[in-house]
């Protein structure tokens, strides 16, 4: 079992956890994730490893509280033991490409952390474009700045950086400076799709990290499957990163909606039971 050592709120409905799980910390590479299970009655959900400290035996998880399980996790006190399995998935393929652009939206900024770090260590010029609905939802700015050579911010409401979407900033960047050597676009499926559509005509290699529904995370159930280049792939073992130009994002988005009704139901019940403690989150995510 793994222990939650530290928990802090980094933005509305975003928490950072430091979890002690030495075997996972030791093996973690950029692009990998863990499956977590809070308790006997819980569901297994995938969470990207945002950072790891092999010496301390800890990993960092950044969790957006959007459903019952992530909200419930937010209420667990430090010291709680949970089940953590990993590191799973194929690590990011890192090379010295030249200029690498990291495009992150919302919770997708967390998986970019280890990728940006690895890109920089490999000698790339890293440009990060981070966006969110409003300023305080553009998370992990300091951490990303430390790992990037240049930063561009966007917000939907214009409260920080330029007003608009990350894709607007990426389009302008390509226009001004020509196409980068590689783009990593991670965020909501709709954003990753827009990034892929934008870079496709330029032929810029573009990587997306897919967030499909998972159970085991080891290739055993197939519920995470997506279509990539006309072929069925299991996100948990073949991915989570794929050539964004080949991914059928429409299918991914449909499959992500498989259990919306049940998810809403579970969240409603949870919020009813924990009204006092979870309202702040509910306001942000409802």
């Amino acid at each position: 079992m793994a222990t939650i050592l530290k928990k802090e709120t980094i933005a509305p409905a975003f928490k950072r956890y430091v979890v002690e799980v030495p075997e996972v910390a030791r093996k973690h590479q950029a692009g990998q994730f863990v499956m977590i299970l809070l308790h006997e009655h819980g569901e297994r959900i995938p969470l990207t490893i945002a950072d790891s400290d092999p010496e301390a035996g800890t990993i960092t998880l950044i969790v957006q509280e959007i459903g019952k399980t992530t909200m419930e996790m937010g209420l667990l006190p430090e010291g709680t033991e949970i089940a953590v399995t990993g590191p799973l998935g194929t690590p990011t393929h890192i090379e010295r490409w030249g200029t690498a652009v990291c495009v992150g939206g919302g919770a997708g900024i967390a998986p970019l952390l280890p990728i940006a770090k690895a890109l920089k260590e490999a000698g790339n010029h890293v440009v990060s474009i981070l966006g969110g609905r409003t300023k305080e939802l553009v998370i992990l700015r300091d951490e990303m700045e430390a790992r990037s050579d240049e930063m561009i911010y966007t917000t939907d409401d214009g409260s920080f950086g330029r007003k608009g979407f990350v894709t607007h900033a990426l389009a302008d960047l390509i226009e001004e400076r020509g196409k980068p050597d590689i783009v990593f676009g991670i965020g909501p499926a709709i954003m990753m799709k827009a990034v892929a559509d934008l870079t496709r005509p330029h032929g810029t290699p573009t990587v997306a990290s897919l967030n499909s529904i998972m159970i085991d995370g080891t290739g055993m159930c197939g519920c995470c499957r997506v279509t990539v280049g006309g072929e069925t792939k299991f996100v948990c073992v073949d991915g989570p990163e794929f050539d964004a130009h080949q991914v059928d994002f429409d299918l991914l988005m449909k499959r992500l909606r498989t259990y919306v009704a049940q998810e809403e139901e579970a969240k409603r019940r949870f919020l009813e039971a924990h009204r006092c403690r979870a309202t702040e989150n509910a306001e942000v995510t409802a």
């Binding site: 569901e43 197939g222 449909k254």
Partner: protein, 491 residues
């Protein structure tokens, strides 16, 4: 009531005793066990049917060679404690095997009584004595030898891993099981449903293993959390490894529409329901879709489990699509009969060609084609051929693919030097169960391809013997025993 003095003729006159079962109409509304178990009276009566053959065919028919006539006599005489002791000499998990073995293809197939009448119900009697022992709290744990100082890692906690662990622990080796999921048991917990194998029984068997000193580390994916090579290295320090990772990779058909919402692999469907207890959502957090009209493709045990699970989740119509006929169905006879009693709509000689979806990407129908049986194929079964122009559409809102599983490549890809056959299964020495890597052994579905609980268990036991010999430098094994062999640390 029994005398033991009946003549063979009189024994032959006793009819096979019926298994008390939940009523079909009632049981489709719950997940409780269907077969309720024999009473002591029924069991003794059933045991009385055994002719105590001089050359008992049933023993040869049992993959692990249980001394069947001997334990049946004990049951007949009401000495149930003695009966279970005999069963456990050869079978580590009798409460499980008694429930899930395909007896009609094994011991009961060759039972002499079966030549003229129904064969002796060996499986039910095996289950009876195992249950009796558990209910009476008279369990004797096997006595473990003095610690040898050797450490063995078992990868996977299915029947092969559990059996291997038990044997090794008995021989005094220190055993750690690494399991990828959060609960041990393999297919016994994530695949086979509660109504056929109560999870309580699996849990109880595993607790006994822990009492014997076996350590179980869940949430540990070998190949990811640590590789086999690393387990054998300095840091982990295991002297031998057993790979029993099963056949966990779901196959799909490769037909259009298979990624629509509402298309499940059998593994996903059963895992959501059994392992994650989706049928108790929202009390448990994992949801499972509850369709009204559900099709399941395939007709093996896995398919039967999906069909009957669908009914219990509340489906109104459940349809089995199988490209061969009932006669070729690989499922246990009892499961097939139970499924029929419960009202499954079996469409034999029918195969899906396409799954159709609505605008939101949800399944709305399946297009199928009728088949006929042609010439026998390599397996000796007549090959099904599509009948041209016989396609038709069935409206459904969910479909489960139960057409088989292959080896999960996670361990295989991360273990250089491990020899595989052309299906991706591990190649082992048939006697020792050692793989191409010295000190690394394998058994169960990962070696044979998807097979049975009893074969996996038998393989685990056999590998344990191979590992024991290897560790002690016996049996002329190819591997160079490690340093510890020369001087096993005491205690």
């Amino acid at each position: 009531m029994t005398t033991g003095k009946l003549s063979p003729k009189e024994r032959m006159q006793i009819p096979r005793q019926p298994m008390p079962c939940q009523d079909p109409h009632e049981r489709v509304l719950n997940f409780a066990e269907v077969a309720l178990g024999l009473t002591p009276e029924l069991a003794r009566r059933e045991a009385e049917r055994c002719l105590e053959c001089k050359d008992p065919k049933c023993v040869a028919g049992c993959p692990v060679g249980i001394d069947i006539p001997r334990f049946l006599v004990e049951i007949r005489e009401g000495r149930f404690d003695e009966a279970i002791r005999i069963v456990k000499e050869t079978n580590t998990l009798p409460a499980i095997c008694g429930r899930v073995c395909p007896q009609e293809d094994q011991c009961e197939q060759v039972c002499i009584v079966g030549k003229k009448k129904d064969p002796v119900a060996i499986g039910r009697l095996e289950r009876f004595v195992a249950d009796w022992e558990r209910d009476h709290g008279t369990v004797e744990l096997p006595v473990c030898e003095e610690p040898t100082g050797f450490k063995v890692a078992i990868v996977g906690s299915g029947p092969s891993g559990l059996a291997c662990a038990a044997e090794l622990a008995r021989n005094g080796h220190s055993v750690t099981i690494f399991e990828a999921l959060h609960k041990p048991g393999g297919v016994l917990v994530y695949g086979i449903p509660e109504f056929r194998l109560p999870k309580e029984i699996v849990r109880w068997e595993i607790e006994n293993l822990e009492k014997m000193g076996v350590e179980i580390r869940c949430n540990f994916v070998v190949g990811k959390t640590a590789t086999v090579e690393e387990l054998m290295g300095e840091e982990w320090g295991f002297d031998a490894v057993f790979i029993g990772t099963g056949a966990g990779l779901p196959y799909f058909m490769g037909i259009p529409g298979e990624n629509l919402i509402g298309v499940y692999s059998a593994n996903e469907y059963l895992t959501r329901v059994n392992l994650m207890k989706g049928y108790r959502f929202p009390e448990f957090d994992t949801p499972v879709k509850v369709g009204k009209r559900i099709a399941v493709v395939g007709s093996g045990n896995v398919a039967m489990d999906c069909l009957r699970t669908a009914l219990r989740l509340g489906a109104e119509e459940v349809i089995c699509l199988y490209r061969r006929t009932r006669a070729e169905s690989p499922a246990r006879l009892e499961e097939l009969e139970h499924a029929e009693e419960e009202g499954i709509d079996f469409r034999w000689l029918t195969s899906p060609v396409e799954i159709l979806g609505d605008d939101e990407g949800r399944v709305r129908a399946v297009r199928v084609i009728k088949m006929e049986l042609g010439e026998p194929d390599e397996s000796g079964r007549r090959r099904p051929k599509p009948i041209e122009g016989s396609e038709y559409t069935i409206d459904i809102d969910e479909i489960v693919m139960a057409i088989g599983q292959g080896p999960n490549p996670l361990v295989l890809q991360t273990t250089p030097g491990l020899e595989l056959n052309r299906w991706g299964n591990i190649v082992v020495d048939e006697v020792t169960m050692m793989t191409s890597i010295p000190g690394v052994f394998a058994g169960g579905d990962i070696v044979t391809g998807a097979a049975t609980v009893i074969l996996a268990m038998g393989a685990g036991k056999k590998a344990a013997a191979g590992i024991h010999d290897y560790l002690l430098g016996k049996g002329g094994l190819g591997g160079e025993p490690r340093r510890e062999v020369a001087a096993p640390p005491a205690g």
